[in-house]
Symmetry: C2
Subunit: 104 residues, 2 copies
């Protein structure tokens, strides 16, 4: 299993609409990509390791696929449409990384 | 539900022993913290958004708790012992952040 992680950095001028992200953006991704996207996880950054410190990321979204090949086959045909939705909920440029799921 | 994420940056001189991390370190954390740690997840960074690019993080570990209060009560008494185990599997200083689980 692989995980595509999209990490939205916590900049000082950051805007991020979590309701749009979870209620409209992620459902659109699931609809376009279909069952190949096995699971979606989303977190909101609260703090660093100390409660009063700033989190490195404001929001984190993760898409799970059986393999990188399945991700590429099913996501890339819709990548432009999905990326075009970003300005509807954020002004941030996310850091994206592909991970192997080792424990879950 | 909250998630404590420990992100190990992918530096050029990075050392990270994933076997030790999953077979010894994380089981030790689970044993010390007990059932308050609801779940443990671990990922290995494979690449950035492009298959031939470097991932931002080499490894990512996540501990799930019912609340920040439960995390503090159950983890902090063991924090020194847990942190002292890091040199046994890595030379990296992790980025730590506490997240609220929004979708899972």
């Amino acid at each position: 299993m692989i995980q595509v992680s999209v990490l939205y950095p916590n900049q000082s001028d950051a805007k991020f609409d979590m309701s749009y992200y979870t209620e409209r953006h992620m459902p659109m991704v699931q609809r376009l990509v279909g069952d190949a996207c096995r699971r979606i996880a989303v977190q909101r950054g609260l703090s660093g390791s100390q409660p009063d410190s700033r989190p490195t990321y404001l929001a984190l979204g993760h898409l799970y696929f059986d393999s990188i090949e399945v991700f590429k086959e099913t996501f890339e045909p819709h990548a432009a449409q999905i990326m075009a939705d970003l300005p509807n909920f954020t002004n941030l440029k996310p850091t994206i990384q592909i991970n192997e799921v080792v424990m879950d």
